[in-house]
């Protein structure tokens, strides 16, 4: 019963996503909309503007450093939440 309901939710989702996959821009095509001025600037001027030859590092710690600050916050939040969950509650197995 539970499996049937899950299928009922998942199957329409899957069909829609397969239709979507057919309509997306072709895979690995250099003319895709994602290859616009944004990655071009990263690869062409990243070394000069941020200093690291690893462009992914340039992006995560310079161009989009705010995201990474929040990302470390996510890790911190998870740890604090785990401590609150496990240490804040007693072991009252009934």
């Amino acid at each position: 019963m539970r499996k049937f309901l899950a299928l009922l939710v998942v199957l329409p989702c899957l069909v829609a996503m397969i239709m979507l996959a057919a309509e997306l821009p072709p895979y690995a095509d250099p003319d895709n909309p994602t290859n616009n001025e944004v990655p071009t600037r990263y690869t062409e001027q990243g070394v000069e503007e941020a200093g690291a030859t690893n462009i992914v590092t340039d992006i995560i710690i310079d161009y989009r450093a705010y995201d990474t600050l929040i990302e470390t916050t996510v890790l911190f939040t998870a740890l604090i939440a785990v401590m609150l969950t496990l240490k804040g509650a007693g072991n009252n197995h009934a």
């Binding site: 397969i18 990655p39 989009r64 996510v74 496990l86 072991n91």
Partner: protein, 123 residues
């Protein structure tokens, strides 16, 4: 349509994995399997992101200072997914912590049994 689907096979695979993950979360009552399902689902999204940044014949985006005419893949999705992976690790850690606590307090990690115990508590 089939041609395009075959050309876009990473997106198709991402859709399939996403559906499998979603189904795993919804159909199983074992909490550990739910946690695994969540991870599978997020992996599918990461695959989708990274695939959208690939360029035919592209090199990894680590600049070769001596050679200027290299095609690099789009570095932005990889950078985003690095963040995404850490988020997914954090969510998994908290989920495991909660499962440990539930096991300590209820003595089981089966969602149906927990529901039964809780309804007995209320009665």
């Amino acid at each position: 349509m089939v041609d395009k689907l075959i050309g876009n096979y990473p997106y198709l695979i991402a859709a399939l994995i996403f559906a499998v993950g979603c189904y795993t979360v919804l159909s199983h009552s074992n909490l550990m399997r739910k946690v695994i399902g969540i991870n599978v689902m997020e992996t599918a999204v990461f695959l989708f992101f990274v695939a959208s940044g690939n360029v035919l014949g592209g090199q990894p985006p680590i600049i070769d200072l001596n050679n200027s005419d290299v095609i690099y893949v789009n570095p932005l999705p990889s950078a985003l997914i690095l963040t995404g992976i850490v988020v997914s690790v954090s969510v998994t850690a908290l989920a495991l912590g909660l499962v440990v606590r539930i096991h300590r307090q209820f003595g089981t990690i089966d969602a149906d049994e927990i529901t039964e115990i809780r309804s007995n508590d209320n009665a």
